[in-house]
Every structure is written in structure tokens, then in C-alpha cells.
């Protein structure tokens, strides 16, 4: 065999690149603080659930997408109460003003996992990737590990929520 296969080389290069990329991602995570990421556990055959967390970006940015292997579809949703009717809508992204905590919490924004790969039980770890854009529209990917809380995990009192009129 005279032909030199470049596959192993490519693979090795990819591994290096990935390692570098990961280091870069970790280094960049310093600009995005993620507090208390959690996901609501599900019952068997439940297709969907919500993920919540608090995001604080040191520089102005925008959360543009969320990815996860835990579900076929991952969407960012906003909930609003209008005349005692709950309305939930998909949003294209969430602005992250510099230095300001943005809550993804019951009653407001949440990440929706739709068509779950399996049941989520309390204590499970769900891996997600946040795709965040900076002011120059440079995207970076930030990994998140959300812990599953029981289905009846008490949310913050609803009265604290700002409601859109």
C-alpha cells in the first residue's frame, strides 16, 4: 500500500482543533455566567418539558439558539399572561444586556425540549449547548449541564413575574 491515507491525519487534526476550540469556548465562558440551570422532570411518554436558568453576559449579546441531544427539537419560548390566558410563543432569540441577569424561569422565557428522546427523572443531567452571538454577530457555543428537578418543583412565586399587558 503506497497510498498514504490522510484519514488518521485528518482525525488527529480534528481532535487538536476540537481541543483548541473547547479551550477557546471555556475561555469565552468567562463572559457568560450561567446560574442554576435546571430542567423539569417528566412522566413516562411526556413529549416535552422546559429548561430554566439565569444568564448574565458581561458583554452585550444574544442567545440565538439552544441545542441538545435530549430532544428532537429545542426552541426558545416566551410565556405571557394576558387576561388570565397563558400564551406561549417561540422567540427568535433573547437579548442579553451587558452585566444584566436575564432569567429563564417559569412565567417568562424558557427553553422548550420537544419530542424528548427519553423520560427525564429527577437528578438526571441534561447536556445543552447555548449558541450566543456577540455584538459583532460572532457566534460561540457554551455548554450547559441542567439538573432535573421533580415535576412538582416549586417555581418562584408567580406574583413576582412581570406580566405583559
Amino acid at each position: 500500500m503506497k497510498k498514504i491515507s490522510i484519514k488518521p491525519l485528518a482525525a488527529a487534526f480534528a481532535v487538536c482543533a476540537l481541543a483548541l476550540f473547547n479551550q477557546a469556548a471555556v475561555a469565552q465562558d468567562a463572559t457568560l455566567k450561567i446560574d442554576e440551570p435546571w430542567v423539569r422532570a417528566t412522566v413516562p411518554n411526556q413529549h416535552a418539558t422546559g429548561v430554566f436558568m439565569r444568564l448574565t453576559s458581561s458583554a452585550a449579546g444574544r442567545l440565538v439558539a439552544v441545542e441538545s441531544d435530549a430532544a428532537k427539537h429545542v426552541e426558545v419560548h416566551e410565556m405571557a399572561m394576558q387576561d388570565n390566558v397563558m400564551k406561549m410563543r417561540q422567540v427568535p432569540g433573547i437579548d442579553l444586556p451587558a452585566g444584566q441577569a436575564v432569567e429563564l424561569k417559569p412565567g417568562g422565557y424558557h427553553v422548550m425540549l420537544i419530542d424528548l428522546a427519553r423520560q427525564i427523572t429527577p437528578g438526571d443531567h441534561i447536556a445543552l449547548t447555548l449558541v450566543v452571538e456577540d455584538a459583532k454577530q460572532q457566534q460561540r457555543r457554551v455548554p450547559v449541564d441542567a439538573i432535573a428537578r421533580p415535576l412538582n418543583a416549586s417555581a418562584a412565586p408567580a406574583a413576582d413575574h412581570a406580566h405583559k399587558k
Binding site: 411518554n45 412565586p157 413575574h161
Partner: protein, 207 residues
């Protein structure tokens, strides 16, 4: 924990004659008492629906038993319309119901908590049973055909509609919890923003 409400219900800022049996701990909460009731009417945190026609339903519980509201006569009822794929309103309302039961102590044993799905298409009896049981073994999940669901919602003036999202659909729905007394009469609706303590006070006042 009492948080200030961000918007009082429309027309709620009228002064009532002071009620000698005032149960309210915080005078600011008096703002939430509704108008349209006599000077002796109890002040509620929720919406007083006394005198409004009581709704009814014809649905099945998760064991397949046909159920109507009259089946729960003799028990005060808390009734909520929702769906199991709901990311936060429904779990929050059901979790609050558990807290309300805790606050009512021994009185809570008589209470019946009903969860009617507005999404019978996805909420099979199995999912509905597992879901309600996950909160409290005593909670009762009810479902019906699309027509029965519509009739039940209409009779309680509950709004719901299917809304497509990127990959599937969600349900907009009224997030009020209806209180029906042991005689089977509609008395009030608890707002989603009310704390468990405020709901428990309303239940003590009415039931």
C-alpha cells in the same frame, strides 16, 4: 411571601366599607377585593363568581369512569384546565394546589382537585394519570373527546386554542383555578398570580 401585584384587576380599586370580619393581613391586599358585591361580601384575592352560572362537564377520569361535576357533590372542588406538555403554568398551578392543601390542614381531605386537559390529542389517559399522580395521588385527571373538551371549557368560559410552534404545537389557555363549593355552586376563580396562602385564605372564606 406576599409580593405586590403588578396590576390589580380592572375595577378593583374601589373602596369597600370596612368589613368587621376582616381576615386580610395586609391592608394593601384589600385592593384586590372585587367590586360588585355587597358590603358584607367577603373580600377575596381571587375573582368572586358568586351568582354566575356554574359550568359542568361530561368527561372520563383516567380509569375510564364517566364523570360530571355532580359526582363530586359534597366536596369543595378546585378545577383547572391545562395540558401535560405545559412547561410551567400547569406544573406551577398544580404545585400550588399541593401547597394549598398543606395550608388547609385537615380541611384539605374533603377537597377534590380536578385537572381537565385541553389537549386530549396528546394527553392520553396513561400520560394524564402519570402526570396528575406525579403531583399528588389524590389529584383527578379528566379528559374527553375534542367536542366534550370544548363543551366543558365553554361552560366554564375557559378559552383555549392550539398554536403551532416551530416543530409542534402548544396550547394557549385560561390559567384560572375555579372554586366550586360542596353544594356544587361556582364561587370564585383563583388567579394564577395568587400565592398559595392567598388561595388558602379564599378557600377558607368561601368553603
Amino acid at each position: 411571601m406576599h409580593s405586590p401585584f403588578l396590576h390589580a384587576p380592572a375595577g378593583a380599586a374601589h373602596d369597600h366599607a370596612p368589613d368587621p370580619r376582616r381576615r386580610l393581613l395586609l391592608s394593601s391586599l384589600a385592593l384586590l377585593a372585587l367590586t360588585g358585591c355587597g358590603p358584607d361580601a367577603p373580600k377575596l384575592h381571587g375573582m368572586d363568581l358568586s351568582g354566575m352560572p356554574t359550568g359542568d362537564f361530561q368527561l372520563q377520569d383516567t380509569s375510564g369512569q364517566e364523570r360530571r361535576l355532580a359526582d363530586y357533590r359534597g366536596h369543595p372542588v378546585m378545577l383547572f384546565f391545562g395540558f401535560t406538555q405545559c412547561p410551567d403554568i400547569c406544573p406551577t398551578a398544580l404545585t400550588r394546589a399541593i401547597e394549598i392543601k398543606g395550608l388547609l390542614g385537615a380541611d384539605a381531605d374533603k377537597l377534590r382537585i380536578l385537572f381537565i386537559t385541553v389537549d386530549p390529542e396528546r394527553d392520553t389517559p396513561e400520560i394524564l394519570r402519570a402526570y396528575t399522580q406525579a403531583f399528588d395521588p389524590g389529584f383527578i385527571g379528566l379528559r374527553g373527546t375534542a367536542e366534550q373538551t370544548r363543551a366543558a371549557a365553554q361552560s366554564f368560559k375557559v378559552f383555549y386554542q392550539k398554536v403551532p410552534t416551530g416543530s409542534s404545537y402548544t396550547m394557549d389557555h385560561t390559567a384560572l383555578t375555579y372554586l366550586i363549593d360542596a353544594k356544587g355552586t361556582l364561587r370564585a376563580a383563583l388567579r394564577h398570580q395568587q400565592t398559595a396562602e392567598e388561595c388558602a385564605q379564599d378557600l377558607r372564606t368561601l368553603l
